[in-house]
């Protein structure tokens, strides 16, 4: 199935919101998914892996000097923070234990890298992922593909999650919600 980048962004954002993620995190999740798709990666699968279990606000955070560790981490919840903590100088590295969507973490690294620095996510043998800022300087430009092939089943799953934010129609909402009549033969 061929989709536009904008279409993918919209459905991923809504899918994240439909899974219970707050709007700001949904934006970050969708941006990472789009970055992956634009680079020929499985952005839909990465987002679905991150939002499938729904949203949990709680996250276990441990600090050890300049290292921050997220335990049992949900990438959709703590991923954006990993990059922002490093960018802010609050941490030199962030360790994410047992991430639910390592690929989405890479997408978030791509998005974060486009602004101020190049971020790298590195898997370790014990299932951890380490996020560090590898270099500060010019980042590679955002790749734009105007045609992206996506898995039809994944797109349908994302669309189903996105549909959770739609409000069921009623006769009343049909008549009053949009402020217009039902025929226009004038």
């Amino acid at each position: 199935m061929i989709c536009s980048i904008n279409e993918i962004r919209a459905v991923l954002r809504k899918a994240a919101m439909g899974s219970g993620f707050p709007a700001g995190l949904a934006d970050a999740i969708a941006a990472a998914g789009v970055w992956l798709c634009a680079h020929g990666r499985d952005g839909l699968g990465a987002v679905l892996a991150a939002v499938d279990g729904g949203y949990e606000a709680e996250v276990a955070v441990e600090r050890d000097g300049a290292t921050v560790t997220f335990a049992g981490a949900r990438v959709g919840r703590c991923g954006p923070s990993a990059f922002e903590l490093i960018a802010a100088g609050d941490a030199d590295e962030v360790i994410i234990e047992d991430p639910d969507s390592p690929t989405l973490l890479e997408g978030m690294a791509g998005v974060a890298s486009t602004r101020t620095a190049t971020f790298v996510t590195t898997p370790t043998v014990d299932g951890r992922f380490t996020v560090v800022c590898a270099a500060v300087g010019e980042a590679s430009p955002f790749a734009i593909r105007t045609v992206v092939a996506v898995d039809e089943e994944q797109f349908a799953t994302a669309s189903a999650l996105a549909a959770r934010i739609l409000v069921p129609a009623t006769d009343e909402s049909r008549l009053s919600g949009a402020g217009a009549g039902l025929t226009d033969n004038d």
């Binding site: 199935m1 061929i2 989709c3 536009s4 980048i5 904008n6 279409e7 707050p22 709007a23 700001g24 995190l25 934006d27 970050a28 941006a31 606000a57 996250v59 955070v61 919840r77 703590c78 954006p80 923070s81 990059f83 922002e84 903590l85 960018a87 802010a88 100088g89 609050d90 602004r115 734009i144 105007t146 045609v147 549909a163 959770r164 934010i165 739609l166 409000v167 069921p168 129609a169 009343e172 909402s173 049909r174 919600g177 949009a178 402020g179 217009a180 009549g181 039902l182 025929t183 226009d184 033969n185 004038d186």
Partner: protein, 546 residues
Amino acid sequence: MRLDRLGSSFPTRLSFMRSLIRQLAAERADVTRPVWEIDDHGFGRAVYSVGLLGHTYSLVAFSTPLAPENRTDRVIAEAWDSSYVIFDGVPTTADLDRLETRVPTQEASRYEDSELSLSRANKSVRLFERMVENLAAGEQPDQQMLTSVGYLMRTTAVYGSGKFGTADRGKYAGRSGMDAPFRVEMLSVWLTRGFTIDLVNHIAACRSPETAVALSEHLQRQLGIGNATGLGMAPFLVSHPILFNNWITARETAIARVVAVEEASPESITRVHELLARARRHVAQWRVEDELQTARISVLESELADVEATLAGWFGDPSPWARLMAEAATWSLETQELIAALLVEAHPALVDDLTAGMSSSTPPRIDGAMSVGSLQEHLAEHFGWAVEIDFGSRDETAQFWYISEEKSEPRLGLRYEESGADLEQPLDVGRRVNALAGALAGADPQESVAGFLLAQPEHRFAVMRVQTVAEHPYSEIRDNLISDRCLPIDMLRAKLAMFGACKFDPKSDRWTRINMYQGAPLFSDIANPAPGFDADDWWLPVLEES
């Protein structure tokens, strides 16, 4: 920008239709019609192609029968009188055959990245058939009837930017001449206007070959394309804060440049006189059924007479435009905004370059390194209006924005009377920033925004809005969009004026009709302009007897 000022907007020479026509005129763009497969009843398909700076773009039009009971301007419609795509290049017969099975179904089909936009239009029943009858009988249509409607068809949606598989804006935005916002969509509407005129002439000629005449060019120019716009446009202004900022920045910069003129040239004084006279005639022809808008137009008419009288005495004084803008503060918002648009119109050399800065492809981003203290300062500076609102009040939270399961139609609900508020869309920016202010009050000012958001990710959206407005001061509508006073029509008018639309005709507080390209050049005016023809002189068109 406040809602009520946005809701008094008028088109300016920075508007997207105007800048497109200037571009086409500069290139003397030639519109051709390589395909016209329309039957005697006006049904079939047609293609219009136009070259612009090395690329060819084609409007592919399909005209189909439509039962009256199915004719609705709503998003929930499933059939239309006509449907269109802008095709990247010139379509082959195979392309046309593919599109013919899909385009008339609109959102129900998938498209390819050779399609840059998707749209549809319905006939103005009262004007279309009458005009066919007149022309078939060898008569030009009645000017009064034409004036009362102003268009043969009205578009009910023009989709771009990758909707339903069409091309992302990124595919063509880097092309010369295509970087302006909504450039493809504006081109689609202008070409559609030409199609509607050809269609009415064709049907009349088929109906009575011996007696039919073509619609006079004079009357053709007085026809625009209608548009019915609902709530779908409103969320766009909120969800594209940097783009919105760039539009308003261009407008405000234009006004500032004009106001800074210390000595008005005789040419500009003459031009302002001409435009003021035109504006008064335009407003005199602007008639709507909506009582509120009718009252506003009445005040505008009266105040424009005052403007003319006021100006007569001091055109030659220093800084007359600054003085006029200062005087305007005593008039209604409609008058203030019309005067601002008029002054911008009169100074093309000062302002036209500003259209180059009205695009944006940059998404807002979180600056995690910012301190909570700095964030608080930005919030206090730009969102003081939101902090002062009591969001515990039912009046301030009376409405909620949502997306209906019916074709994803955007709708507005009453929070305390209807269900669905748990699925509210985040257009409640003021309320969210108000909540952020409360959360920040208990935070360490030295803490980073990154640390704050790790602990309280639910405020991420609001933090982004505050950080964005700190760099883009016109990115927010500074009003509560969920209060019982919020009139979505204000947001619709602001965006439509930015497109270049006029003759706003509100049908409710969340639905309006407008006219696009009324008075604009025809295809032939662009490719082969008559001596002295000015393709850029159609601000606030006046319908005149031939």
